[in-house]
Amino acid sequence: MRDGANQAEFAALYARVHLDLLRYVLTLLPDRHQAEDVVQDTARLLWRKFADYDPAQPFLPWARKFAYFEVLKFRRSRALREKYFSDELLDLLAEEHAADDNQLTQGREALDGCLQKLDEVSRQLLKDRYGDEIPLEELARRQGRKVNALYVVMHRIRQRLLECVNRTLKAEGWT
């Protein structure tokens, strides 16, 4: 059933959860490109199954179930060495994801303030890496630095921001 009203309704729902699905899939399959492919496959599957969706229920949990099965399908299609995590861990990550939803949402808001506190050099590195999508190897070459040194810098930035976000959440009463 692919009438225009359904398509518009699906598009509106999907546009709202697209990033959440990517976050979820990336947790289970931590490779950006593979995760994006799985999310695309999930979107197609969701559209095919949209007639079964109960509009009285929230869309995201419904969509996540299909995303999970798409991740499993993807893992089955790959050699064992390409599986990032064990099946046991994958199940735990999938199970626990929804429980962290609210905290992760608050964390994203807290990240704004933490990014503002970041020094200019670190901020510029994030901007080059994520805004202009320049690989760290290329950035290292331009800056005349060793790439391993940049990996360490990236790790420190991520860790600093993570701790800043957690301090903010703690101050707001999250445990």
């Binding site: 518009a8 598009a11 509106a12 990032y84 046991e88 990550l93 994520y130 320049i134 993570l162």
Partner: protein, 460 residues
Amino acid sequence: MSKPHDYEELTELVSRLLDEQLDEAERARLNDLLLSGPEARRVYRQMVDQEVEFGCRFMAEADRELAAQGNIVPFDFAAERAAARRTWILRLAAAAAMVAAPVLVWLANRTPRVTPAIVARVEPGRGELQLLDQQGKAVVITTPVELKGGAKVALNGKDASASLVFPDQSRITLAGPGEVSVQPDGATMLQLQRGHLSATLGTNLARGPFHLQTSNALVRVEGTRFTARETAGLTEVSVEAGRARLTRRADGREVEIRTGQFAVADNRMGWVVGYLPGDDGRWSEDFENGLPTGWRGQLVSEGLPPDSKHGLKAVRTQEPWGTFDVVELPAEWNHGLFILNTNSVLHLTYRMAKPTWLNVFMHTIPPHAAPGEKAMFVLRSEQFPGARTEWATVSIPFARFVRKVPDPVTGELHFTGGPPRAGERACTIAFTAPHELDLVFDKIWVTPDGPAEEKVQLLP
């Protein structure tokens, strides 16, 4: 919010994972650490979430900066050059601020001395095409001209069209009013005010992202084929190959679309994302959930095959050119309903209580069509509708449709052309006759392959 045991090691391994640096042993160790407790997995989820946020925020920031700078569009290695240039400017500005403010002001205000080079050729089509020089003086172009760095062309008129061809054979076709600028350093700035733009990018342009500015969106495309349409403040972008990130100017909201998707937004609604006609070439309608939007026909619920709740019966329709009985698929003139290939097959489950003849017309968008271009076909079928009154499914290759083409001598249009080509998109199909049609469809569907010859199966 307690830190898990081995927090340092955990965050370092997750960081290496995100940078795609993990080796097998580290991957196994990370697996063990994450199995060790929920706190470790929470940290991991946070770090992954943070990584996605970096991508969203900094990509939006980069697009906003480009827009503020006049939406300079990278062209031919320009992605790298632009990034390097921005970093260089920041460093230079910081050094200058420390040394002397007047020097900074001078640096900021000076005009780079660039020798214009030929960067593209503009080919006029319909309507008026103007070449604007840097002083804003306009010259009307009637033959192809080479564009130098710094040039701007403007297209005027509702039905106007023109093409920009780059040295790598990248081609951008504009239809309707619009402006395209080529920056002094060879980068392009593309602004679409109204109308339609389609781009097939060659090796050079496809190497870096391509930026487009519309009235309410900034579009960053990585890929080789895409189209954009701007009508009455509504922006629509479709990606045939590649990906595009779209940022709404009003609130910075973003969506990313990929091959086979389109996104639409205006100043009031957020992005709406949809799919272009299935690239798997499948489409179906069985009317089981009632009368779908856009169809012409009357929903019926009696006299149907077993297990069927609804069907669609032909209805009498008054048209300016006569009165007809008709069943018609919902017309989708922009993207089509489904994509055809040379083996595509139309399947119809139907019954005709009073056997008679009828016409089956189809409109399509040909591959690489000019804006608004459509093709028309009629079905030459031996088996449909056929002299039968029982329920049957007929499978008809789309190769049975013939195209309406002009007679080479008289110029009159006749259905004497070939079948639909691969990549052609069907916009609608109409089953129609000037007399009464006691015709009911239970299901209509399309598959990308099937029997090469027409085939009829009676329903049990």
